[in-house]
Amino acid sequence: MTTLLTAAEQKKPNLWRRARHSFAVARHEPANLIGLVLAIFFAYLILAPVLSILVDSFIVQSGDEARTHQDEGSFTFYYIVRTLYSRISEILIWQPLYNTLAIAASTVVFSMSIGVVLAWLVNRTNMAGRAWFATALIVPFMLPTWTFALAWTTIFKNRTVGGQPGWLESLGITTSNSVAYGYFPIVFILVLHYTPLVILIVGNALRRLDSQMEDSARVLGAPSRTIAFSIVLPLIRPALMSAALLIFADCIGEFAVPYILGLPVRYDTLATGLYRALDTRQNGVAAVIAAVIMIIGVITLLIDVRMMKEARRFVTVGGKGNMDRLRKLGRMRLPASGFAGAFVLIGVVLPLLTLFLSTIMILPGRFTLDNFTLDYWIGSNLDTVALRNGILLTPEFWQAAWNTIVIVGSSSMISGVLGLLVGYAVLRCSFKGVGSFLRQITFLPYLVPGIAFAAAFLSLFAVARGPIPALYGTPLILIIALVAEKMPFASRSGIAAMTQLGKEPEEAARIAGANWFSRMGKIIIPIQAGPLATGILLPFISGIKGVSLFIILAIPSTDVLTTYSLRLLDYNYDQAANAVVLMIALIAWLGTVLIQKISGTGLAQGLEN
């Protein structure tokens, strides 16, 4: 047995044989079936609503027959023309579009400027209280945006709007509309909310940066300034761009803040305009606005993808540097901490304190002892028209809390498990097309801001279609919409977890003789328990804070905490509304702490994902 180089030439098996063989192989790979089922499922859950709303903008909606002089359901350009070119298009789209872009752009500029400075202070200087600030500065990102909006109105509200006056108003200081409502407070609040995101992303990039690159520059005699501007800044530029685009995209879809602070002065953004259109039953116009929001989202993310591709060219592998990278601030050490402290004060302490004080004050802005009460929390038989008990004694509150837990909890659980299955199918499926389709379609909701997605869901599931009954008004539509909305995150973390796990543990189990169910039950799921728990809890937290999906899809019987608080606000039960908001913030914070405990990662890493 010395050589065996040539074997009898066998003719290449024909297509039919190969297909049958592939089938024989695929039969033993359940990932194929899972992949196919998931693909169909998500096509219906994600693709269909988006297509449906795009189609809606070209179809005569019910009730518009007279205006369009066409039958319901026929093809029309009426909505496009009305929204984009008519006399009222200035109000319908152009002004809101301008406002939205102005808010998004300003928020990006300001939060980037503040965030980069803070990230640098926290990561690269000997600022006093560095470690504490590393956590404290992130807190505003954990609070729902409209927490700040409510705190803002509590202080600055003026006579433009009825109901209880703001604190300044009752102290005799009249606030102008431009301070109380509209562009300025919205940007101010969004900057507070998104600056921590910049700190997280840029801080992480700073930490991952191979310090040997800086060290090499230092060894060559470069002063700190040169290092910062010619080495560090170019290297973290991808992170900066990515943070900027993320914030931009999020601001486009932001609904709650302009809803609270913009509506009183008719300062509309696309999101509130969409809501207004839906509320006034102009479904066709709403579809066009939703499409515009989606297009902006798609453009933003295409830019992001392109930049990330470029960024990959200079991905650096972290190394260990020994040189001291912390810059001595000297006399600026305390002022730097003062700056960071001011951010925490304005971004965390003031809003929460304001909200809390507002819930224990009978008349706003009167700081006398007899004005304080715990009635709004635990009182009973109050002297009000409705809501005669404190919020903690009100059955509706607990109903809403229960709804929140059930709806958000079950949808997070479903999306977490689906995410893991998507990860499994994407990596194991024998047919490449199915895998990449799954990967892309689960990412699609990310391109569509929540409010547009909710509108899309409404358009598809409001009426019975085929075997699926009308879902509007049931908790089911909320659960399904939430699942779909959370899929980009869930599938990404599922794919990441499965990629990190690799195929080998499962292959080893196959070789040991395990069938698919034992492989799943005894190997994959136990190993992935940690990521799975995080993959459920993170969507849960962001789901609790979410507004846009609920405000369109929820009805009073499916009230969740967010819609409940907004409803209370509408009825001018400000104290109760703020109390509910505080409870939401509390739940969100507890959930984040829980994630930290489970995953063992720091707060910062946990949130960034």
Binding site: H28, E504, A508, I511, G513, K522
Partner: protein
């Protein structure tokens, strides 16, 4: 009875035009300890994964114990969980959430072996692999060598007919590698299992396997015992791949069709049909002397590199660089002129297709030297001149 038979096994990954495994036919006898040896990317791991069933073939056939497990022609594919073949992954793939003992008895549990027997077999294999004391630890608490023993124990516990090892020693440090090498040999003797392992390390293959299958670019190059592969490489690739320092190759000049012309000094008569292109000699076969004669080549010592107990000497011969290795301390210094004698039986010749040319002794003929004036290359002429004067001095 052959344990495993591969017939024209071919694997084409999606999107690749070149097959990763190209028409490989190979028989592994029961109880054999075989190594698939080749550079990275040559398809050896793919073959191993196809035998295990983790990968499927594009064409050809795999039979285990005469039972066809993967064949496109028969549209047959038996999944890995039904093949009862052991496979130890390169990075072990231990289940991180299970203790060592649970890892080892996982397969037995699946086979529904009664608890008592399971315990016994588990203890037995763990003690044979000397990991009994770590039974309650988790894989992350073990060193690389211990992890590997767990991975082996996990497969041996179910007593598979064939054990496949993917680069079994590559993740270990040098000392552990030596230890595990002995361990694997011992295992093969104790359990009598057929073992196929994959390696890119010729030293590992030489020391462990009793049969080596050398692969390159998806194709099988040569199968044989370690000695055969070393002594009679069937082509230039095998000759170059095996041996450290690498075999010396001397490009032969295009000359008349009658003789092999090695830098005008060594001539061999060509066989009738084939033409030799390259002459090769192992570094340790070169003999260096001070005396020049008709059978020696003049060379200059460029570099002497001690490698601990042996020496590697870099020689320059015209434009060629040759390596010579020796166990005895060299008596020359760098820059010295020496004469190299290349013993005829140690010379390998390869034709233009890089295939081995078998030249019988009678084909080699040193008596027919070309006259130095016939040399086209001036530099060579100078060298010979120097050599002649050197020879005169000697």
């Amino acid at each position: 009875m052959p344990a495993i038979t591969l017939t024209n096994l071919t694997k084409c990954y999606d999107g690749n035009t070149e097959p990763s495994v190209d028409q490989v036919s190979l028989t592994v006898e029961d109880g054999e300890f075989m190594c698939l040896l080749g550079p990275s990317g040559c398809g050896k791991t793919t073959i191993l994964r196809m035998i295990a069933g983790i990968e499927h073939s594009t064409s050809g056939e795999i039979a285990v114990d005469d039972l066809v497990v993967d064949s496109v022609h028969q549209s047959c594919f038996i999944p890995p969980e039904q093949r009862r073949i052991g496979f130890v992954f390169q990075n072990y793939a231990l289940w991180p959430h299970m203790t060592v003992e649970r890892n080892v008895d996982f397969g037995l549990r699946l086979q529904k072996v009664p608890a008592q027997e399971r315990k016994e077999r588990c203890l037995d294999v763990m003690s044979k692999l000397r990991i009994l004391e770590y039974a309650d630890r988790y894989p992350s608490q073990l060193s690389g060598g211990q992890q590997q023993r767990v991975a082996l124990a996990r497969m041996l516990a179910v007593n598979p007919g064939v054990l496949l090892l993917d680069e079994p020693l590559s993740n270990l440090d040098a000392t552990l590698r030596l230890e595990m090498r002995a361990e694997l040999r011992r295992l093969h003797q104790t359990f009598g299992t057929t073992i196929i392992f994959v390696s890119h390390d010729q030293w590992e293959a030489m020391t462990l396997a009793n049969t080596i299958a050398v692969m390159n670019k998806g194709q099988l190059q040569q199968i044989g015992t370690p000695d055969e592969i070393y002594a009679e490489p069937s082509n230039r690739f095998v000759a170059e791949f095996i041996g450290n320092p690498k075999i010396n190759l001397i490009k032969l000049k295009e000359s008349n069709d009658k003789f092999i012309n090695l830098a005008s000094h060594i001539l061999a008569r060509q066989p009738e049909s084939k033409f030799a292109d390259v002459c090769a000699i192992r570094p340790e076969e070169i003999i260096l002397t001070n005396t020049a004669n008709i059978n020696t080549l003049p060379m200059v010592i460029e570099n002497i590199m001690p490698t601990g107990g042996s020496w590697v000497i870099e020689l320059s011969f015209a434009e060629d660089r040759l390596f010579h290795s020796t166990q005895s301390r060299p008596k020359w210094r760098e820059g010295d002129q020496v004469n190299a004698y290349l013993p005829t039986p140690s010379l390998h010749f390869f034709d233009h297709d890089e295939k081995r040319l078998v030249l019988s002794e009678s084909h080699l003929d040193y008596s027919n030297l070309l006259p130095s004036s016939a040399l086209p290359n001036k530099q060579n002429a100078n060298q010979i001149h120097t050599n002649q004067s050197y020879a005169k001095q000697a």
